[in-house]
């Protein structure tokens, strides 16, 4: 999703003179944080994949690449899904595999058209489980109005996988006059979010082994292309769209601030955090602004269009809870600052890796 997203810059530390006991992030092996959507993920891309693949298309580092092909502007994206458990309140691996890729395409303003699916199955997984995932993929594709045009299946030995992994890729067409990418954020832009945040991440945690807690919170997984189309019907001049998945709103906004060299200022009280999400984060010690969403988007819109775009979002089922949460500013470039409910401020930094329950 937001994988190829962060413009990672060199560190100010002189490695030769470092006396630090903890070269924490120069890990010689892959750690879980490399998949967390935060700074470690960004470093992996910057240090391993970008140098190996290096080309101008990849360098744009958006949710999906926008390519000129045969006279058309094509959005193209791929993503792998490794969620555990496979079925969770509000959705399943199959829903995520479709909606995640559809949403990455939609964040370029594209209307998604075709998907591929690649299943990696672990020996011994009940066929019934595979069938349930496949059915979920089919149903989600129908809802998102995309066609699963091609696919692949591989089996790995027992113990070499985690049940079912799915990779999807997708293509869609970007309408004429639409140019949506993180570099286009401008001071003055209104920052809009399409609905309540933190639902997906909390729903997954509530059923994760060792952490289980009771709640009615369900994942928000949903396709967002329809909502984006409704927004583009108001104006084609939407500057940035992003679906704040892993790393949550905080990671997405930091990525946008860094890519565009602007600052972002949020009003804490305007950010829609459902009470039960806030309470779950409270007892686990997590910040809802870093918790994953799978059916939300954040938009940077020129101020003159903000009101109309917000109204269009609220009129759409996927944007009913949309809110204006802040603005893009020229100050503190590359940083996100939150005005707290009490009237102070705090810096919302890019998270390092995945969030963990804390005691302190």
């Amino acid at each position: 999703m937001a994988d190829l997203a962060t413009d990672v810059r060199e560190t100010a530390v002189d490695p030769a003179n470092r006396t630090c006991p903890a070269p924490l992030r120069d890990q010689p092996v892959v750690v879980m944080g490399h998949g967390g959507g935060g700074a470690l993920s960004a470093e992996l891309i910057e240090q391993v994949f970008t140098p190996a693949y290096g080309n101008p298309t990849l360098a744009a580092l958006a949710d999906s690449a926008v390519l000129e092909l045969g006279g058309a502007r094509l959005a193209f994206s791929t993503d792998s899904y490794v969620v555990r458990p496979l079925f969770f309140p509000g959705g399943s691996l199959g829903d995520l595999a479709v909606n995640g890729t559809v949403n990455d395409l939609a964040m370029s303003g594209a209307s998604p058209a075709y998907l591929s699916t690649a299943f990696i199955l672990e020996e011994g997984v009940p066929l019934d489980t595979v069938e349930r995932v496949a059915r979920a993929v089919g149903a989600a594709a129908r809802e998102a109005e995309v066609t699963v045009a091609t696919g692949d299946t591989k089996v790995v030995e027992s113990g070499h996988g985690d049940g079912v992994y799915v990779t999807t890729a997708g293509v869609g067409l970007v309408p004429e006059g639409v140019d949506i990418r993180p570099q286009r954020a401008r001071p003055g832009d209104a920052v809009l979010v399409s609905g309540p945040i933190g639902l997906h991440g909390v729903a997954i945690m509530s059923v994760r082994e060792g952490l289980e807690f009771g709640t009615e919170i369900a994942s928000d997984t949903a396709p967002l292309a329809g909502l984006v189309a409704a927004m583009l019907a108001v104006t084609r001049d939407i500057h940035v769209l992003r679906d704040p998945t892993r790393g949550g709103l905080g990671a997405s906004l930091n990525e946008i601030a860094r890519a565009s060299g602007t600052g972002v200022r949020l009003r804490e009280r305007a950010i829609p955090v459902p009470e039960d999400v806030a309470n779950a984060c409270g007892f686990l010690g997590l910040d809802p602004l870093y918790v994953a969403n799978e059916g939300r988007l954040v938009a940077f819109v020129p101020p003159e269009h903000a009101e109309a775009v917000l109204a269009a979002m609220r009129a759409h089922p996927q944007g009913a809870g949309a809110a204006l949460i802040g603005e893009c500013v020229a100050e503190h470039p590359g940083m996100v600052v939150v005005a707290t409910g009490l009237g102070g401020s705090r810096v919302l930094d890019l998270p390092l890796g995945e969030q963990l329950p804390r005691i302190c």
Binding site: F213, G214, T215, D276, N279, A280, G282, F283, G343, C360
Partner: protein
């Protein structure tokens, strides 16, 4: 240190060893050890840290604190120096 949050005791499993109960944290619930508050009752609020209820929350004290905060400044507003008060309001409204 010590992330501890208030929750309401929803049910108590008296057969559990150690004593355990279900705590509601406002739309989110989790089991907690009640062994350190053996006479806690359903409906009472407790403060929970790493799965242990550590102390009862005293409603009377909470109310007294909030009432005190409500009263702050009121005495001076009634009887205090008007100029000083105006200056204070000014500086208050300038606060971010």
């Amino acid at each position: 240190m010590c992330l501890a949050v208030p929750g309401k005791v929803v049910s108590i499993d008296h057969s559990a060893d150690p004593l355990t109960g279900l705590i509601d944290f406002g739309g989110v619930s989790k089991q907690a050890c009640l062994e350190y508050l053996p006479d806690v009752k359903v409906g009472e609020y407790v403060i929970v840290h790493v799965g242990f209820a550590l102390q009862r929350l005293d409603e009377e004290s909470a109310r007294a604190s909030l009432e005190l905060f409500e009263q702050l400044g009121l005495l001076e507003e009634e009887f205090g120096d008007a100029w000083q008060q105006a200056a204070r309001q000014e500086s208050g409204s300038e606060a971010p």
